[in-house]
Symmetry: C2
């Protein structure tokens, strides 16, 4: 670039009688507006000489820093934050993977943060994410209770809770339809002709436990079946509890259950083991279904355990698409529950392929 070029460029810009815009910078530097924006915002991949040329033109035509700052605000950072509030757990994996796919397909990078039960760490992460000027935020990872909303955040920052709930009823939250999933499981057992269906569930403080119990009760009611006394039992989310619950439900009972709807696959697997060891045939005498469709657990059961899939991968994809739409200006609020799916295996249907 020679010494006299700046003057002629300034004259050219000045002749248009307006404050120079990023379009002027782009045109005079011989680059696209996108490239000019990248150079001015010091991001993106550019040759050094391109970056230099754009910066020189910008300075020379008097493209003002506050214009530059405004263009920063108009320009998306093409980054989103994912804040996990319950470590990187088994349930959040398929959600991460789906979010990652949705965002990567659109050239959006993900900042990943974790703040397990640590409000100070969470605040630190949020400050950092806001400093990086994220375009949107996903909060994921805790379902037992509604959590306080993250924040304070800029009012226009799109935020989605996935597999997590905020105590703000307006907050956008995507959750599996636990009640619907439980109805599916119970209706499946009813369709097989079972009438004495027990529900072995997890700890009652979990929102999912309450939702699933409602689904179980409503499926029984829809089929005109009475809920048996003592046929709902609650304990830890473990195989040991599944085994213990079978003792409770079968020891010395005249009319024991002919089917078990278990609150998760670990409980279901423990129940199957306990039934087998009591000489009870699954599914002939007792059909068993779990919840979660955790393949490594369900498939290793003998027989393999039928289950309910929460479709967490689909939930993650839906969340990713919704956040992108919200970043583009779509309004959204409140809780959305996505359907679960029945995955039959040989613990309920003898001739099942699985």
């Amino acid at each position: 670039m020679t010494d006299d070029q700046p003057k002629s460029i300034t004259a050219a810009a000045g002749s248009e009688h307006h404050r120079p815009t990023i379009r002027d910078v782009a045109r005079l530097a011989g680059v696209s507006v996108g490239t000019a924006s990248k150079a001015l915002n010091a991001n993106g991949k550019l040759k050094q000489e391109t970056r230099d040329r754009v910066m020189t033109v910008a300075r020379d035509i008097g493209y003002r820093p506050n214009d530059m700052a405004q263009s920063l605000h108009r320009t998306r950072s093409m980054t989103v934050g994912i804040l996990s509030t319950d470590a990187f757990g088994r349930f959040t994996l398929p959600i991460f993977q789906a979010l990652e796919e949705e965002f990567a397909d659109r050239g959006i990078a993900i900042f990943m943060c974790n703040a397990t039960d640590d409000p100070a760490r969470e605040r630190q992460h949020l400050d950092q994410l806001l400093g990086k000027r994220i375009d949107g935020l996903v909060v994921t990872g805790r379902r037992a209770d509604k959590r306080p909303s993250v924040g304070p955040l800029p009012p226009n920052l799109p935020v989605i809770y996935v597999y997590a709930q905020s105590d703000d009823p307006e907050a956008v939250a995507l959750l599996p339809d636990d009640e619907g999933g439980a109805r599916l499981a119970t209706a499946h057992l009813i369709a097989l002709g079972r009438t004495r269906i027990a529900h072995i569930s997890g700890p009652e403080r979990f929102d999912a436990v309450q939702q699933r119990r409602r689904g179980y009760q409503s499926a029984l009611a829809a089929a005109g079946l009475a809920e048996m006394p003592d046929f709902f039992v609650s304990g830890p989310w473990s195989e040991a509890w599944g085994r213990e619950a079978v003792e409770q439900l079968y020891d010395g009972r005249a009319a024991p259950p002919d089917a078990l709807f278990c609150g998760n696959d670990q409980i279901g697997r423990g129940a199957i083991d306990a039934l087998r060891e009591r000489g009870v045939s699954v599914p002939d005498q007792v059909a068993v279904i779990g919840f979660d469709n955790w393949a490594v657990m369900a498939e290793a059961a003998r027989p393999p355990l039928s289950s309910i899939d929460m479709n967490l991968n689909a939930l993650g994809h839906e969340a990713g698409r919704l956040l992108i739409n919200m970043i583009s200006g779509e309004k959204a609020h409140g809780i959305r529950r996505l359907p679960c799916t029945l995955v039959p295996r040989r613990s309920t249907i003898k001739e099942s392929p699985r």
Copy 2:
């Protein structure tokens, strides 16, 4: 800011007989060098008026775009990339968590990417990460085989493979000491007085399977024990294989094994179930130890399964610290293997607390 200020500032800078630096910009704008850098690099959290003042000073004293670009290169972006090449699997979780803690403590944000068996997606992610000017890169998630190095990358970008290996022997890789872990497991069984120790492992194409077999053999040799013919068997990483392998090792054999070292906890659990169902007492007649210390699997076994912990969380912490040191200029190369730990439970020691 009044009209005559720019001139006096220019004069002030000019009087020092040097090309203006970021320190001049900072001093004249009345901000720290860090704040000036943030404003010039258009990142970090700053008041708009501060950003404007810095940009105005920079332009007015003739702080040159290429100086600005150089300062970009001197300035860290305070971001690192994590590229997972094998989805978000169970083994990568504790590693992510540890990395996240190390980086968060130092105000470094993490870009998370996933590219499972998809070189085009991997290239796209790398371009995006480089466009974000990451300070360093962690590649994680595949152990079966050495993978081609990621790249091409800038020669000075620090890169660490964690729980993954590159085909470049100079590449920095952090791995668990599988051979040492297998020696621990086998020596534990020997210390309990067992002499007929079989090894039920995973698929032979896995590097970990070969490493662990070497550890098993070297522990036997160190104790002066002969390796029995047919006492090494290889199959899938599943409970079903554990059960099947027990049939192979015990059916019609005059002197069957008195201990089993299993290649993972799923195999170990299948083996325990099969032994119990044959009426063989664990650990009295046969002691069983697994590998991975996957709590949900090991603790649900009856009896609970002793195992080897790969300390993946510690591996992640070490990787995080090493990458930070490399970003600060420390040189590193080659493979480092971190020790595994024995976690005894009641499948080997009857009076074990677990």
